[in-house]
Amino acid sequence: MFGIALKSLRSKWRDYIVLFVGLIISAAIFYMFSAMASNKAFLESNSFVSQISIIFVIGEILLGIITFVYLNFANAFLLRLRQSDYGLMSMLGASKKQIGSLLLRETLSIGVIATVIGIIFGFALTSLSSSYLIKLLGVELTHWQSISVKSIVITLIFFTVLFLLNGLYNKRRLSKQDTLALLLANKQVNQPKVHQKVDLLFGLIGLALLIGSYILMPKIATLGMAGFVVILVLNVWGTYWFISRTLKMITNWVRQSSFSMRGLRSFINGQLSFRLPDYQRMLSSIAIMFALALGAMSVGQGYYRMLPKLAESNYPVTAVYDTNQVNTDNLKDVTWQQTYHYVKSGNTIYFNGAEFNANKLPARVPSTDGASMHTKWLTGDYIRKTPGSDYTLEGIANQLLNQSYGAKVIVTPSQAQMPANGELQSIKMVKVSDMLANEKALAHNASVEKKVTKSDIEFATGSYAGYQQTKGIFGGVEFMGVFLGIGFLAMLAATLMFKTLSGVADDKQRYRILTMIGTSDAQITRTIATDLGILFGIPMIIGIFDVIFGLKMFAPLMAGEKNIYLGFGPSLVGILGLYLIYYLLTVWMYRRLIKN
């Protein structure tokens, strides 16, 4: 039996290489993410908020589910490769039990070998990709390391368990098939069955569900959790029926129209209609994963890009300086600036209310519906009479005391009520119209300020300081969004590549006939590119639509609808770039396999 196995390996080595490469990629990606998620020092040093590590755990679970799905595809492919050999063994007298244990051993050894190579590959990939991403995103990451013993163990156990489960499942499936079915396994044709009325009905329902989910997405804020579930169900079923039925409707229509009577259009259409029954589930999951990848990246990047705007919206001024050492002349387009005096006494900062009566103090307050913020100008009298209206001053007081919270503020009616023993000092508040245009000057001023007062930007108030603080926090989120996005996409595109290449044997015969009846090499290449282009294009287009509408769900998080597409453009370019590489690689490999 070992001889047969070895012979089969030799004759189908191309298929095995495709399988192996796919498995190695998935193990490498899983390891990469696990290395990041299990690296506590890295997570803690890059995230202010402890919730970030929860996001990483959620990310790893998602990645685990996708890996699980992927391994199912890979093992189904493995079973398909071996089925006819098992049939042959069975005919030669091997018992189901013998064959079953052989299958289990084969699955496990392929799995473990691929996982080990994948982890080694993961080391290299992790150090390469992280340094590239860090450079690309301009975020600072500390405590990043490529080799993590914990992740090696997690990846090994996770993959071995999955392969074991898959092996047992394959074994069970195998034991239910008879010898003849096994022998003929690779020669069965899956004829597309056409039930025009049913297809039309479900096709239209699919389209309606998909559009319905798009209509509901922007309304998520009012619909709540139940709405989210409804949207998810509508979108998943909509996608599935759209791909399985609407596309079938379209291929039927093309088949009957004269559109297909030119060049190899009928052939491409035939390929698509033949593939659909076999590909519909996979294309649906890829469409959804594509949307997840693009969505994760768009939100991550969008949020990061929105930070300056968020900071400007939260603070009434750009910066507050505790010293006259800072010269604000280097700032461009200053729209407002004012100097106020204070006296420090223990944990309390005293301000002179009369100064605010003369020159009102700006504060950011939410509008009545809570949807936006606007600046309110406060007098000293108003602040004294209205409890809780002194938060601008509280921020300033904490900055002056170099602490994140806990400072006490007292606004006195006039300078006479301020403590006589304290030194009268001054602060300067300044607002510029464009913070990012002044970023260099603001950084310079902050460093001058720090030299004199030893106060950290972490505790400072103003939109510039707020921006710097959140940049630190959300740099990690953006990094993870991009990392997850790329991980999802790399795996899903590999799945599609894998599936397409595994069907090459059937297609080879079709292309051989085409060549014999006068199709040129260039035409064959064009046909392959179009055929695979449609396969890759379907989930991509649905995924892009999903994200265009899906991002509207993030309007509350992104401070309004106008900001939701901030990260969409660059993410789309990145994702499409990667997807294109997979597509071109698949076309190239496919072309080579067809030609051989």
Binding site: V189, Q191, R255, S258, S260, M261, R262, G263, L264, R265, S266, F267, G270, Q271, S273, F274, D506, R510, I513, L514, M516, I517, G518, T519, S520, D521, A522, Q523
Partner: protein, 250 residues
């Protein structure tokens, strides 16, 4: 005097075996086929008849020698010209039909014309015409796997005919058919040869099928060892002659 359509001149084909030994399949083989002629090539297994057909039909390159069709040396043509030649000037009927399983009968037959970018109307008319001639109109919307062997072979013939080629190659076109279907197929080929003036070169090991041809070349060890002409004999008489030749031959 009739004009030559195909001239094969001193064709040689040799392979290097796995053990590194050179094996000659065709040896200095020369012959010609006239326009409108129906030629059968017979010979035992391994005599090189399939190799010869593959070389004549541009599917395989000879080691040396030339093949001229309509005055053009087909092995001097560019890839594009070869494709054009296959698509426009020749039709091919295979023993195993070679239909594309993902296309309906109609689409399979249309392929040579859609490749030439013919108009939809012209394609429909041409498909209808050959489908009527070969009695396969009722299967046009079926897939090859839904048809019997004989029906599939007729579809293969329809695809070979639909673009009015000058020359049809047949590689054991009746090899997979029962005697009734084989007779029917050979009658079709004879009809299109006589009515449309299409030349036919067919490889077969079957004396019955060969007896429909006007000339038979016998191939042994890569060389033509005997040629017989039907002249004006009835087919049944010619059949007997082929059988007796085969008897001598073996």
């Amino acid at each position: 005097m009739t004009e030559s359509l195909l001239i094969a001149n001193q064709l040689n084909k040799s392979y290097l075996s796995a053990a590194g030994v050179q094996q000659d399949v065709l040896h200095d083989l020369s012959f010609s086929v006239d326009k409108g002629e129906f030629v059968a090539i017979m010979g035992p297994s391994g005599s090189g008849k399939s190799t010869l057909l593959n070389i004549l039909s541009t599917l395989m390159a000879p080691t040396s020698g030339t093949v001229t069709i309509n005055g053009k040396d087909i092995w001097q043509l560019s890839d594009k010209e070869v494709s054009k030649f296959r698509g426009q000037d020749m039709g091919f009927i295979f023993q195993n039909y070679n239909l594309i399983d993902s296309l309906t009968v109609q689409e399979n037959i249309s392929l040579p014309l859609t490749l030439q970018k013919a108009g939809a109307k012209k394609i429909k008319q041409a498909v209808k015409k050959v489908a009527q001639m070969l009695h396969i109109e009722e299967y046009l919307n079926k897939y090859p796997s839904e048809l019997s062997g004989g029906q599939q072979q007729r579809v293969g013939a329809a695809r070979a005919l639909v673009h009015n080629p000058a020359l049809i190659f047949g590689d054991e076109p009746t090899g997979a058919l029962d005697s009734e279907n084989a007779r029917e197929m050979m009658n079709y080929l004879t009809t299109i040869n006589a009515n449309e003036g299409i030349s036919i070169i067919m490889v077969t090991h079957d004396a019955f099928s060969a007896s429909f041809a006007s000339r038979i070349l016998f191939l042994t060890d890569g060389q033509i060892t005997k040629t017989i002409n039907r002249d004006n004999q009835p087919r049944e008489v010619f059949y007997q002659q082929v059988l007796s030749e085969l008897g001598n031959f073996n």
